[in-house]
Symmetry: D3
Subunit: 319 residues, 6 copies
Amino acid sequence: MASDFRLKEQLPELTDQIVATYTKVGAIHHLGHCALPNYDVIISCIDDLKDILFPGYRRREGLHIGNVTYHVGDLIDGLHDKLTTQIARALRQDDRVTGRKSEDCDYEAKGQAMAIAFLHRIPELRTILATDARAAFDGDPACRSIDEVVFCYPGLEAITSHRIAHELRRLGVPFIPRMMSEWAHKQTGIDIHPGATIGESFFIDHGTGVVIGETCEIGHHVKIYQGVTLGALSFATDGDGNLVRGHKRHPTIEDYVVIYANATILGGKTVVGHHSVIGSSVWLTHSVVPHTTVTMEKPKLRIRAEIPDELKPELNYQI
Amino acid sequence: MASDFRLKEQLPELTDQIVATYTKVGAIHHLGHCALPNYDVIISCIDDLKDILFPGYRRREGLHIGNVTYHVGDLIDGLHDKLTTQIARALRQDDRVTGRKSEDCDYEAKGQAMAIAFLHRIPELRTILATDARAAFDGDPACRSIDEVVFCYPGLEAITSHRIAHELRRLGVPFIPRMMSEWAHKQTGIDIHPGATIGESFFIDHGTGVVIGETCEIGHHVKIYQGVTLGALSFATDGDGNLVRGHKRHPTIEDYVVIYANATILGGKTVVGHHSVIGSSVWLTHSVVPHTTVTMEKPKLRIRAEIPDELKPELNYQI
Amino acid sequence: MASDFRLKEQLPELTDQIVATYTKVGAIHHLGHCALPNYDVIISCIDDLKDILFPGYRRREGLHIGNVTYHVGDLIDGLHDKLTTQIARALRQDDRVTGRKSEDCDYEAKGQAMAIAFLHRIPELRTILATDARAAFDGDPACRSIDEVVFCYPGLEAITSHRIAHELRRLGVPFIPRMMSEWAHKQTGIDIHPGATIGESFFIDHGTGVVIGETCEIGHHVKIYQGVTLGALSFATDGDGNLVRGHKRHPTIEDYVVIYANATILGGKTVVGHHSVIGSSVWLTHSVVPHTTVTMEKPKLRIRAEIPDELKPELNYQI
Amino acid sequence: MASDFRLKEQLPELTDQIVATYTKVGAIHHLGHCALPNYDVIISCIDDLKDILFPGYRRREGLHIGNVTYHVGDLIDGLHDKLTTQIARALRQDDRVTGRKSEDCDYEAKGQAMAIAFLHRIPELRTILATDARAAFDGDPACRSIDEVVFCYPGLEAITSHRIAHELRRLGVPFIPRMMSEWAHKQTGIDIHPGATIGESFFIDHGTGVVIGETCEIGHHVKIYQGVTLGALSFATDGDGNLVRGHKRHPTIEDYVVIYANATILGGKTVVGHHSVIGSSVWLTHSVVPHTTVTMEKPKLRIRAEIPDELKPELNYQI
Amino acid sequence: MASDFRLKEQLPELTDQIVATYTKVGAIHHLGHCALPNYDVIISCIDDLKDILFPGYRRREGLHIGNVTYHVGDLIDGLHDKLTTQIARALRQDDRVTGRKSEDCDYEAKGQAMAIAFLHRIPELRTILATDARAAFDGDPACRSIDEVVFCYPGLEAITSHRIAHELRRLGVPFIPRMMSEWAHKQTGIDIHPGATIGESFFIDHGTGVVIGETCEIGHHVKIYQGVTLGALSFATDGDGNLVRGHKRHPTIEDYVVIYANATILGGKTVVGHHSVIGSSVWLTHSVVPHTTVTMEKPKLRIRAEIPDELKPELNYQI
Amino acid sequence: MASDFRLKEQLPELTDQIVATYTKVGAIHHLGHCALPNYDVIISCIDDLKDILFPGYRRREGLHIGNVTYHVGDLIDGLHDKLTTQIARALRQDDRVTGRKSEDCDYEAKGQAMAIAFLHRIPELRTILATDARAAFDGDPACRSIDEVVFCYPGLEAITSHRIAHELRRLGVPFIPRMMSEWAHKQTGIDIHPGATIGESFFIDHGTGVVIGETCEIGHHVKIYQGVTLGALSFATDGDGNLVRGHKRHPTIEDYVVIYANATILGGKTVVGHHSVIGSSVWLTHSVVPHTTVTMEKPKLRIRAEIPDELKPELNYQI
């Protein structure tokens, strides 16, 4: 290698300069404190849970009714240990951030209690996820079987992670639900905040670009397409100009609503009544009563037979 | 660890409750039946095919014309075995879902025949993918070389996986094409249904959020930007209210069409004539003749010098 | 296995046919030339840099101020070696593509010089990334702590990779910056071209579908939501119909601008003045002066109490 | 890299020459036939079995009486599948070698029957291995606990693998027992042929270099030290000069015998009577009655105060 | 697969039978108690320590004096954490075995104290290991450089692990030293008990089959060849017939002694005086004064020109 | 974790002390020089070579005569690159150790030349290894097939690695042959110095503890059992007391000789004539003419019906 070893001699000095920024530029390092939840372990928990919720599809082949108890029992036991530790870390870190003080041992005990409470929710989660899978099959004419939904539909992947994350958040687990929802976001392009409440038989088709905000409330049998935003209109601030966190900023979607691709629905007071249909690319910031159809007014398009100059460069294929 | 071992004693009971849901809540498990196609093997097939289609770019360094035959021959041989097994699994599962019955040995033999038929399509695939790579280079002023296209362009990654998946579907392989297209969707944010027919010299730029439906027909030299939806207007149902699956629901795009970002084109009868240009964010549900330019009418924007109250909270940076 | 070994006998012939396309169909293979930058090594460089920029969050647990120097020093040293080699490869390949000729040893030496110059930018990068993390916390009412930003926000992940890629490009490193930005695009759905210039305290929320073009110039304290495109209006061609590469094609966004979801701003001469607000789904192709608010004119929606026939099929859930 | 690409041009020709030897030089390749047992799978079976036989020591932490059923049940199920496949391969290959012919399906069925028969032997194996572990603790004054035996004693590792291999051989499984005993040999330096019959409470201390031949018969409570050979005196040949395989060629060791380091006992008719002691380095080719002690006659050593010339070079440390 | 699923139905019953043995056949399981030291972590500690003791030879390439501090500092920090946890586990388990009771927190604190005390011994260990490496170079005419010793000599590998294990044992760490010495035994065939005391400049050549007992005392500049046993003559028992553990049972070897291959020296009272030479295959159970040479008396061999019948079968190659 | 963070504050100081020993205690570090051969790469070369020499047995399943060319061609090409680099490193390091000086580029070129020369020896190696495998089958009555020899016999593994290492040494490659022979030693307990010359049809049975010295010369059809040493009698020194390296120190074994377990044959002038048989545990330091049988004289054993007191403690099992 032709690289010059003498030039490397500046690296120790550079290292010192970088480390110096760790004390000067605070906030974005995590040094000298208790351990944070471990991302890889959190992801492995999601994977374990998917194996339990949809047994036989992914990591382990050859499962049948005679051996599935062993497989699930083994996973549940491991999940108990992993979740206990990770929730304890999250609780400790949350207290540090908020300035609360608790006894160390408490964290482990609370973590275990939350882990067990969560695991008891799994049968219920399976029941509701079965309605979601069914809704996908019923709602997509390109779909041939429920197996295809479980195997291939990003919408089911996103709602599965969301239902897991939402349960943990409901139990008061800090930090971890957001890590889970971001993981699902990364995998699917669907960004559902763990705080959102979503009813059964929920179906997101294609899904890339969907954003569902923290305080959304969504009913049963709702169907959403790619690029839909259920967002906030604006953020309140307190007297000091700081954001007010936690109040309802995102819309309510009632039962049997369909929202087509790239529609945008904004505002905490916006309610879309049940059995309504929101058309593709609609931009809605107020409520509509049940059984309403909202579409874009016949969009005024400029249609010209001649291609305008500024678009022509694109067409250099023709020649 | 301070976690209480006695609390874990409830886990076996919980395990039994979860397993009980496997018989109560059907559909979303795969227990006691024949093996499904294995996702990891399918992904490895895509990776092997990319190494064959674009040799020298990714997994294996040091390929040259003198050794590439060995490398490719080795991959082809392995692909034959992997595809044979996976296609056989898919065929068997498809028969199970649809209630057909076939002899077990048939599946392996049919799988092998389909695998070999597919592998014979590779030279043709390379030829057409070379036109896609060229189209990307010609169509993006930020691009410096074809190498950059092969290495860095998600559009080429998506169309590569699509062309593979589409060939398999054309040969009658169930299930696996959708697994492949979902993998590409996850990697690139581009969701092309394996059923879509796409001509040569196809280029998707940026690509996130693009959705191309099952029955789309796309000509040669078509160029598409991020967020474009080529979708269905509505779904037909039969007398029992069930979706009618399989008929043409998505638009036809003729040769030399350019579709800019976030445009939405819907409907199985919608035809965009050749050499047309569809502008950014246009929403189109009817056909246009060749050589047409469609843009949004000068959008009516509300432009105010004063910032409205409901947007002000955002601006707390100023102070 | 029931597969027929005799059928495999055609594979060698097929292999030869495929290899024959490597000489017939050029461009999309990389055979017999010098090594390209290695994607996996480039990704590992990004991961190393994230560990240095945000120590204690991801790969390595148990970092504290007493041991972080060792950890960082070790990473810096390894980065020096990896970047030197990879940049040298990129320079060599760039010369090949452009037809320039240089001495072999030069590449290593130049690669090392660029690697060291880049590493010296790390303290500065940390300082500016701290403002980005702060902007995310200040700008999202759903966010509880800076830790959550570093751990969970795809926007921070995207801007981190961008700032790294942008520095390398500024130093004249070919190829690698685009590989890095595509990696970030794949992870987050946010596509920022390494050429874009972005000021401090930058925040992208949710982010899926965001596209920021090569010649964008973005000021300080800018905030962008999902689906925003900062793109080109049209591409210039030279006399031969080839694209003119490199001139300013993308907009300028001044300080303290907020751009809401799915807004599209196009054109190299378009300037959004400071302290402006661009509303959700706005489509803007001309400049606006500072302190301007641009929203869609009250969109004309068709709101009907009765659901139109063509949408009814969707509602088969009701029964 | 300075290596000359033109020199590599001879490699294809060389490859052809090597491949030509595959038909010319037979026997030591395995091409075009059915699959052999897979070494890595066989090793994973041994590891699974060790987890079942000695739960809690190695791969899986946190096992307790409440979850061990899941863990073991999962392993047993996987072992059933792995052993069924591997035994079927071994049976098929054995028929090929010996020129027998059987129906393909038979192999799987026979493999499964043998796998299940073997798994039913596990409770018995645990019982006898517990006597082996106890014998190690009782027989080594340096040993502090049974845990230490299970964790650290190569003798227990060797006898565990042997008892597994011996059971499989007893059931008529070809090939695999030898693969297992060689694996144990590689790990421990103790070479026990799967054919050897060994009673309970068996202890090998240190063990490196121990060889126990195919037709050995060893009673209960036998203790052996490193370097002991229980071998054959000579091999019989048939009229054609070929070895006669299978008859008893190795000694019989009765109950409560101790054999010290590096002793050699040879011959199929040699019987060491119970409660006998064979001293270190003894070379024995005939039987001894029970309760016999055999030691080397006071070895005649040459002891000189002066160091002979030919040994002096060793002592150049002195100077 | 032709295996019969109904036959698998007996596996749950078998699982229950196996689990039943966990309560019936005690001792050789580790269920429901505190965690044992983890073998894989212990091995990784040895590997880390080798990187520190002999930097630049194995896992990490490109170390130089400018970056080695970072590398070593990072390893030391990690070792502190790993050793603290593992020693704490070993102490807790030791108390359980011996029936002692201590406070939980104590284990961690004691573990840390022992870990730090051990780490402080590393400079001394390096100094003495340098004498061992030198002794190997000086003692083997086939050796070309010290690099070759560090890279290729199993004797150095064994003594390195021994010196580490011996230090830990000296500090009162239970269990782990034996795990380490067994790992070295498995790698090299050299079995040195951690209790043995060994002076500097120690060299074992080839080494397979060497056994050095717990209470051996070995001086400086001692050289040992393969197959040498330094063992016990016999074991004392107490009134109940139980072994007396811990008293001196193995020989003392003074400075500058050479012991040739396969020699056996036994007994706790046996002292080999300094500058003595013990010849190959000698069997010695009593002391010899300094400067003594002990060789086998000219062994009486039976040398016949005619090959005896019982050996002839071997020679069937001749024909 | 209860470990005290303040105690860790001494670790940086300790790190400095350790690093200080790198300059004080030389020789056993490799800092600041050119790269050494990489052990893991060397091992992967051995594994690749085994796949070429014995195709179809280990890493790759499903090889047949139709695809083996691809597999072998791919491996040969990779071996060329790996060996070229590693031999260049070894040559550079050898020059450094011996104080020679060469041009940098030379190393790569010489490395490539040696790599190619070595690869051309593979057909010859296969031919001779086939005789070794045959000799094992013919020489072991417990062996059922040649497949078993290739799969399970450590003797074949050792001689394979030796023949590879010996070829490299013959070509003048420093360092790497010893790394290979030590790897084989570690795997099999058989220690053959790469310098030893060994004829065809060589068989080592069991093998643990076998040592074959650097200057041994072994003819055809030789058979050796476990624990055999072919060693040096004594080492010559020069006037300064340094070892004379390189002259013949180890015995010559002529064709058709059999050496039984634990025999020791020493001395560079010792020649065992062809068709001789050396019995188990014989200790031989002089030559014997062809067709000689050497056995231990009927060993004088002390055989007592009563067990001596010093051995009794062993027998506490009886009670």
